[in-house]
Symmetry: C2
Subunit: 154 residues, 2 copies
């Protein structure tokens, strides 16, 4: 698992697309065990006034209805450590691996994913982290709303 994976590149592209739209700059991409991209997407809180279309949920939604077997051995690439909802979504569909860009700006369900048998890889990618730091600096209210936290400043 590396920054050169097509899945990670797609997730980062999605995050940048989100940033260019003025949204929360988090992207995700679901890749099956054969390396085929099943779905990709980015956080749509700002763009669609959505409380649930986080990046990973968007990727799963874009992938559409699939039998359980389609997720066997699959990897969810995401530019940021997944929140509790997205962690739960990966567990529900028994995704085998979660590869995150970073978890310095937010730590979600990393430990719980491991506890539930999901492999977790942190690429510690500086570009992902900068996207988040810039967004949190400029739009703290959108960010804290997205993670269900009171409007604290950092």
């Amino acid at each position: 698992m590396s920054e050169h994976d097509a899945g990670f590149k797609a997730a980062l592209e999605e995050a940048k697309k989100g940033a260019s739209e003025g949204g929360v700059p988090i992207g995700a991409c679901l890749v099956d065990k054969h390396g085929k991209i099943l779905g990709r997407g980015h956080n749509m809180r700002v763009q669609n006034s959505s409380a649930t279309l986080h990046a990973e949920i968007s990727a799963l939604e874009t992938a559409g209805r699939l039998p359980a077997s389609a997720y066997e051995g699959a990897t969810m690439y995401t530019t940021l450590s997944p929140c509790d909802m997205c962690t739960g979504a990966c567990i529900l569909y028994k995704v085998s691996r979660v590869v995150m860009g970073e978890n310095n700006t937010f730590v979600g369900g990393d430990a719980y994913l491991k506890q539930r048998g999901v492999e977790v890889v942190n690429l510690k990618n500086a570009e992902c982290e900068k996207l988040m730091r810039d967004f949190i600096e400029q739009h703290p209210e959108d960010w804290y709303e997205d993670i269900g936290e009171p409007g604290k400043k950092h």
Copy 2:
């Protein structure tokens, strides 16, 4: 918390609406600490070919963008024990209580919700259970897809 709560009645109405549409018959309703319904919805896997619009996600999505404070003291009514994704969504937004219709046909994140500090109430409602038993009997493939399980028969 009882079957007479407006939130539970709305969740059950949603489940029946889902059933009448040929969908997975699970409904949910998010109610704030003052008793106001913030959002309601039902599972849309069959109707929208959606992998993520479970009942609780639909209710949160219908409620729309809200600050963290809006969920304080809120109750998520759902006709069935919430799956890992919906469990995570309730934890993300720090919903105070999850009231489920039943958990005889499926046990989701009941224990994890409690572990994360969410109050859990099971109404053991026969109507909710019958809706699920009938659906699983008639459409096992849709049901097992919805919970990410291989297509076993029960």
